[in-house]
């Protein structure tokens, strides 16, 4: 028998994730929904010895197609037909949560409700008659406090029977009232052909047409009696408009809300003495979104987070790398004593060990950053940060929440690429992901320090600052261009809930951090590792050549591509090879140059001026700043987008932008006579 599937649905901020964790424990798989950068979690649950799969749907307020999240959820529910949809509802705000529930029941899906945050509700004097709700909805209702595990045992006890004999899946029919029902009836007479395309009954197809569901309207294109439906729709719209004074879509959704409100009123008892939102939440809010304090406070928090991530992360990462280097030396000595061929020992130390080292070096930063992010998200502050920053980020065509990843980018692009997970909308996320590589990470600084120090002396600081600024300007322009071209079709929305504050739970924070950290190791690890091996291989072969010399494969690639960089002023093979090495990690460019010019017998500071003019040095820095970020970024990018297509696009377009600007700098400088030696 096939494994039964439970889909977990619910509004954002209803504790859906807590319940998912409470049900499945650590048996989870994190990935993406196919084709989009929306996180998909799947877990396993054992019920009476039977394995059940639990799929966590995106947090949504309604099903339909008015955002990608909703699209994913409704596609999944209608196409995959899970054996049970477990809807997590916020007991302290039942009315809001019930809209989704009623919609799902209209679709005739087998439903069970977890009446979550029951403790918050009681504290606010809200009592819900679970039995009455169960009866009215025709769905099991179990009160829970998922974050403390309360009610989960009861839920588990009831799940097998809910999964076994199909609970009443007779669709709920919402009374749309005397004004709308005739219209819906007349529409459903025409939807026999349309309904199967949507996977619903003709009646529901009529409802979805009337409520202006994008998917239903799109499916209209594919039916033969389209013109009839179109005309009927127009007629009914006019009729309803005349009757009610507003349009069919508004009328239908208003009626559904009226039904929801009435249902909520029937089962909710409110103690008016207790009541409302906790006062503390409001007091915190008054400070963090204060007219004058709000913005500085958020900037301070972000800056603190940035500092803390790298202040704590750097020494740990340094120690990890140190340990790997020592281990490498130890192995090398061991191999030498065993008189292994030199190539093998080089392979083990320069290839294998530094490959693994290149992967784990990111773990401390990712872990720390996500611990902090989970802290902000769990407490409710992240939403306020976006609320405060949105005005500024919108000028770049981005969402308020994009600020955090972009700031992190100055430390290291890798954790910041993963941090784009806080962005819910794929559009905002893709744009942020695509511009992040232009933000100058700390690994590019050694390159700037070397070149600016060698060529610009006292003005080195200004030069380096100009490069940081250039990175930002390119990022902003790229965001504008991408937003206006590739992502032009999708409108940017900022409909976001500001949840009540609550104390962050250590378990949630650590779990979030660990999940991302291990996700990175699993998803990006092998790619980074293989890249290191590949570069090592290219530099060491054919057998017998000097490491990374002109005769090695990497040297040959360098020689054949050098011409490409002639217009930018650095058309010699060493520069190309150094840039190739930069793919491992940008700071490696410096070391590679050292190796490549070692034959000249003098230090880099003396060698570089023989090859570069100040102008071509600047062009080289522009190239190093903007071209394909390191293998780790590519791996993380591929992990987050789940798409090689987008990854290749990112590699190509960043390289193109980098090359164009480097050439532009050199040519404009040359023609205007600046910076010739």
């Amino acid at each position: 028998m096939a494994t039964k599937v439970i889909a977990l649905a619910g509004n954002p901020n209803t504790g859906k994730t807590s319940l998912f964790n409470a049900l499945t424990g650590s048996r989870q798989k994190v990935g993406n929904w196919p084709g989009v950068t929306v996180e998909r979690k799947e877990g396993r649950l054992s019920l009476d010895g039977r394995e059940v799969s639990v799929v966590d749907l995106p947090g949504i307020y309604s099903v339909g197609a008015s955002s990608v999240d909703e699209q994913i959820a409704s596609d999944y529910l209608l196409a995959e037909r899970p054996d049970l949809v477990l809807v997590v509802v916020d007991a302290s705000n039942l009315e809001r949560s019930l809209y989704l529930v009623v919609q799902l029941r209209e679709m005739g899906l087998p439903l069970a409700l977890a009446l979550n945050m029951e403790d918050v509700a009681s504290a606010q004097g809200v009592r819900i008659d679970a039995a009455a709700l169960e009866e009215r909805l025709g769905a099991a209702v179990v009160p829970t406090v998922a974050c403390r595990g309360k009610g989960v045992a009861e839920l588990r006890r009831r799940l097998p029977s809910l999964l076994g004999d199909l609970p009443s899946s007779e669709p709920l029919s919402v009374p749309y009232g005397p004004h709308l029902s005739p219209s819906l009836k007349r529409l459903s007479d025409l939807t026999a052909e349309l309904a199967p395309l949507l996977g619903v009954s003709p009646e529901l197809a009529a409802i979805r047409l009337a409520e202006g569901d994008g998917e239903a309207l799109a499916a209209l294109e594919r039916v033969k009696n389209r013109w009839m439906i179109d005309r009927r729709l127009a007629d009914e719209r006019e009729r309803v408009e005349g009757l009610l004074g507003y349009d069919l879509q508004t009328a239908l959704i208003e009626r559904r809300w009226a039904f929801v409100s009435a249902l909520a009123a029937q089962v909710v008892r409110r103690d008016l003495l207790l009541g409302g939102r906790p006062a503390l939440s409001d007091r915190i809010d008054r400070i963090v979104t204060h007219r004058l304090l709000g913005l500085p406070l958020f900037l301070a928090v972000s800056w603190g987070l940035f500092r803390a991530t790298f202040f704590l992360g750097d020494p740990i990462a340094g120690r990890l790398v140190g340990a790997f280097v020592r281990f490498g030396r130890f192995l090398e000595a061991l191999l030498e004593r065993g008189s292994a061929p030199e190539l093998l020992s080089r392979f083990v130390t320069d290839g294998l060990i530094s490959g693994v080292g290149a992967v784990v070096v990111f773990f401390p930063h990712i872990f720390l950053l996500f611990a902090f992010i989970a802290l902000l998200e769990d407490s409710g502050y992240m939403a306020r940060g976006a609320f405060v920053m949105d005005r500024i980020m919108r000028m770049l065509g981005l969402h308020g929440k994009s600020f955090m990843p972009l700031l992190m980018g100055f430390g290291c692009n890798v954790p910041s690429i993963m941090a784009t997970r806080i962005l819910e909308r794929p559009r905002d996320r893709m744009i942020t992901l695509l511009i992040l590589p232009f933000v100058s990470c700390s690994a590019r600084l050694p390159i700037f320090l070397l070149f600016a120090g060698t060529f610009f002396g006292a003005r080195a600081g200004t030069v380096i600052f100009s490069l940081y600024l250039l990175g930002l300007v390119v990022a902003v322009v790229a965001a504008k261009v991408l937003g206006g071209t590739l992502f032009a079709g999708e409108s940017s929305q900022f409909v976001m809930e500001l949840p009540p504050y609550h104390r962050p739970r250590p378990a949630v924070v650590l779990r979030g951090a660990w999940e991302r950290g291990s996700l990175f190791l699993r998803k990006a690890g092998s790619f980074i590792f293989l890249s290191v091996l590949a570069v090592w291989f290219l530099a060491s072969f054919p057998p017998g050549v000097e490491y990374a010399s002109a005769e090695s494969w990497i040297g040959r690639i360098g020689r054949s591509t050098a011409g490409l960089f002639a217009p930018a002023g650095f058309g010699f093979w060493q520069a190309s090879v150094a840039l190739l090495f930069g793919f491992l990690a940008k700071e490696v460019v410096v070391g590679a140059l050292g190796t490549l010019f070692a034959a000249e017998g003098v230090g880099l500071a003396q060698v570089l001026p023989r090859y570069f003019s100040p102008l071509s040095a600047y062009a080289f820095m522009v190239m190093a700043l903007l071209y394909v970020p390191c293998a780790a970024v590519v791996a993380a990018f591929r992990g987050e987008t789940n798409s090689w297509k987008w990854t290749f696009f990112m590699i190509l377009y960043t390289s193109f932008v980098a090359w164009t600007l480097a050439v532009a700098v050199y040519q404009i400088g040359r023609l205007s006579g600046i910076g010739f030696p």
Partner: protein, 205 residues
């Protein structure tokens, strides 16, 4: 009998003679010492009076923007002097105006402005003062945003509170159906509300 007199602010004698007149016209059943109750004809008559009262109150307060106690008073004064035909015409005018106001027709907006009643004007949510609330009248956004807003609960008749703008003036923090929401100013401008303070009440047919 006593409580009726008290509620209406007249003497008991007036009530007794009024009741007698109603019984005489066949509108009221009233046995001695019993509670008076309306006959079928009486109920119909009462409803038509009530409807007329509601319509006139709506015309004066809701449409012409006269503050509530005053507008209601005017309605009470003239409803007694209206004959069938003039009542019918007034009702038609009321309907026509209401329709225009709901649709946001150009002439209706111009009329409102001319009437000079700023307080009760339906307006985009973004034009509400911070801390004030209003009833949703309609959403003018198009496409996915429109559906999203409606499904979030921005449907006619729901009460929405504009809490405050973000420190930089945009986006806005709102409260609807027990949830705090954040909307950009441009999005909030597509939700038309009528301020509760202007004496507006939810008008959902």
């Amino acid at each position: 009998m006593t409580s009726l007199a008290e509620n209406l602010g007249v003497t008991k004698g007036t009530v007794v003679s009024a009741l007698k007149r109603l019984v005489g016209e066949g509108l009221l059943d009233h046995e001695r010492y019993g509670t008076p109750s309306l006959t079928e004809a009486g109920r119909e008559r009462a409803l038509s009076i009530y409807r007329r009262h509601e319509h006139l109150t709506f015309l004066f307060t809701g449409l012409l923007g006269i503050p509530r106690p005053k507008g209601e008073e005017i309605a009470c004064t003239i409803e007694h002097d209206l004959d069938e035909e003039s009542e019918g015409r007034l009702l038609l005018l009321t309907d026509f105006l209401a329709q225009g106001f709901r649709d946001g027709a150009d002439w209706a907006v111009a009329l409102r402005r001319r009437l000079g009643d700023v307080a009760a004007l339906p307006r985009p949510l973004a034009m509400l003062e911070p801390g004030k609330e209003g009833f949703v009248m309609r959403v003018t956004a198009e496409g996915p945003l429109r559906k999203k807003l409606l499904e979030l609960g921005f449907v006619p008749g729901k009460k929405v509170l504009f809490r405050k703008p973000s420190p930089l003036g945009d986006p806005l923090e709102l409260e609807l159906l027990g949830t705090r929401l954040s909307l950009r100013r441009s999005e909030a401008a597509t939700v038309w509300v009528c301020p509760t303070e202007g004496g507006c009440s939810p008008c959902v047919p």
